[in-house]
């Protein structure tokens, strides 16, 4: 079978990843306030940008149309929220469960497999990121920033962003040795946040725009922005493809690392 040659065996043995979601839901239902209060962050950010920067910047031209600056930035921030939620969950929280709480050791003694854990934890990180992305949609609706009903497609776009970053994040975490290593996580996510055509159009980067296209977040921002404007083009398939590719690589690495490190 061709799939067995491309994917590691750990990723083929997946049956009940949803049990990890169940477990994490049990934990988080006690701290729902923390998650709920996170919904205010989009409101604060978007209001601040509307009050402050929209007046300073004026309108921005996107695909031949002029739109207020806050409407330009909102999709970028939504994409970044999907990334940040997924990264936080798949790095710090996974590290704690793996190294300190030894949660995965005890789960592997049950019928659950390394692949179940990888997919389950990555899936949960995606959901965590999606909650914040959804909060952005509602805030944008409330502030009248939504341009098209296609905005619902931005949930799909944010899920792709979440999968890519959660998969890579968790794979990276399997190589971390101590908490000090986590100081390097923002060193990666911060430049991605700032330089993924989040705050200004790709054209502003001039001859540096090829660097921006190396950022996975950039591809997500393009998808979310297209959803909000309801403007579809075939090139979006390529952007989505980048994110899917990263997800598959990250999940495969994660599953086989769990297998080699915990099942030895």
């Amino acid at each position: 079978m061709i799939t067995t040659r491309i994917l590691p065996s750990a990723l083929l043995d997946v049956r009940s990843p949803q049990r990890l979601l169940e477990r994490n839901a049990m934990v988080y239902r006690r701290s729902w306030m923390v998650i709920f209060s996170g919904f205010f962050e989009p409101l604060f950010y978007l209001l601040s940008i509307r009050i402050g920067l929209s007046a300073l910047v004026g309108d921005i031209e996107v695909g031949g149309k002029l739109i207020p600056y806050d409407e330009f930035v909102a999709p970028g921030l939504m994409a970044a929220a999907a990334m940040n939620g997924a990264v936080l969950e798949s790095t710090m929280n996974v590290f704690h469960k793996w190294r300190q709480a030894k949660l995965y050791d005890s789960i592997l003694a049950t019928p659950m497999s390394a692949g179940d854990i990888a997919i389950g934890e990555i899936g949960f990180a995606v959901i965590r990121g999606l909650m914040y992305s959804t909060a952005f949609i509602f805030t944008m609706l409330a502030l009248g920033m939504v341009k098209s009903a296609w905005i619902v497609m931005s949930v799909v776009a944010c899920a792709l962003i979440g999968f890519a970053f959660a998969s890579i994040g968790m794979a990276w975490t399997t190589y971390m040795r101590s908490w000090a290593d986590f100081e390097y996580v923002p060193a990666v996510t911060l430049p991605l946040f700032l330089f993924s055509a989040t705050f200004y159009p790709l054209s502003s980067y001039g001859s540096w725009s090829w660097v921006v296209q190396l950022s996975p977040l950039y591809h997500g921002v393009v998808l979310v922005r297209a959803s909000n404007l309801g403007e579809w083009s075939p090139s979006l398939v390529v952007h989505a493809g980048v994110l899917v590719g990263l997800s598959v690589v990250g999940m495969a690495v994660t599953a086989s690392r769990i297998k080699t490190l915990l099942l030895k």
Binding site: S31, M33, V34, S37, G38, F40, E41, F44, Y45, L47, S48, I51, G52, L53, A55, L56, V57, G58, I60, Y69, W179, A180, D181, E183, Y184, P186, A187, L190, P191, F193, L194, F195, F199, Y200, S204
Partner: protein
């Protein structure tokens, strides 16, 4: 002569900091550099081409306007974080401060020692930003030197009152809310990104009451010039007020916590 008690308290936290200072030190330079390039230069170009920006910013470039405020906001974030989980560790999880007050160290010394520690952390962050600002023409100024203590004072105006709150808690459950509903809104609405005169009329006076607005105005004024002596004294007095009142509350809450 023996080491003064507050310094012995500060040593404990600094000893923990030594475990990861390298990564942190690099981050202290890299992070402001990224913000300056991403927001300062990038958004700056959009703002400076904006139709009304020259009038709204009073003739200053957006890079200068935003970057000088970064001194204050960086100090605010670093110090606030330190006064939450790491401080909680000393009170609750590792119980180090309780162990200290069973020696001749007094709760008041713990309050002063922590203040020294927050000041050291804020200084590292502020120097990182100042060094990066010195690389750019718009912000290269002798005013960067007094702006560093100005930023540290801003950091303390957050950390010390927050430490008083932390010392009354047994869990960190309330901490995300402090960041989300206290620190973040100040970051976004206290003049760091745009002049507060753009705020709705009812919100502008609220911004005057926040320590961050005083810190931003102080640092910006020192770096870009144009600060009257009344404004200078006023901002320093306001920030010091937050620190002193916070410290006074700490001496009470620390004693209640550590010597019940």
């Amino acid at each position: 002569m023996s080491t003064p008690a507050p310094l012995r308290v500060a040593y404990r936290d600094l000893a923990l900091y030594r475990g990861f200072w390298k990564a942190n030190f690099v981050a202290a330079f890299i992070q402001p550099m990224l913000y300056l390039l991403g927001i300062g230069l990038g958004v700056g170009e959009l703002v400076d081409n904006g139709p009304d920006s020259a009038e709204l910013l009073g003739g200053v470039s957006y890079f200068g306007f935003y970057s000088s405020a970064l001194l204050a906001t960086t100090a605010m974030f670093t110090s606030s974080q330190e006064a939450l989980w790491p401080t909680m560790d000393g009170f609750q999880w590792s119980n180090a401060y309780r162990a200290m007050v069973s020696t001749p160290i007094e709760p008041r010394d713990v309050a002063t020692g922590l203040t020294i520690y927050y000041a050291v952390r804020a200084t590292v962050g502020a120097i990182g930003v100042a060094v990066v600002l010195a690389l750019f023409g718009d912000t290269r100024s002798w005013g960067l030197i007094p702006a560093v203590p100005g930023a540290v004072l801003t950091g303390l105006a957050f950390a010390v009152p927050i430490a008083a709150w932390t010392s009354t808690r047994t869990t960190g459950d309330s901490f995300p809310a402090i960041l989300r509903f206290g620190v973040l809104p100040m970051f976004l609405f206290s003049g760091a990104f745009y002049p507060i005169k753009q705020l709705p009329d009812w919100l502008e006076p609220v911004a005057w009451l926040t320590p961050l607005w005083h810190g931003v105005e102080l640092c910006r004024g020192l770096v870009l010039g144009g600060l009257t002596s009344v404004e200078l004294v006023g901002h320093i007095a306001a920030l010091s007020g937050f620190v002193i009142v916070g410290w006074a509350i700490c001496t009470i809450t620390f004693r209640r916590r550590l010597q019940p």
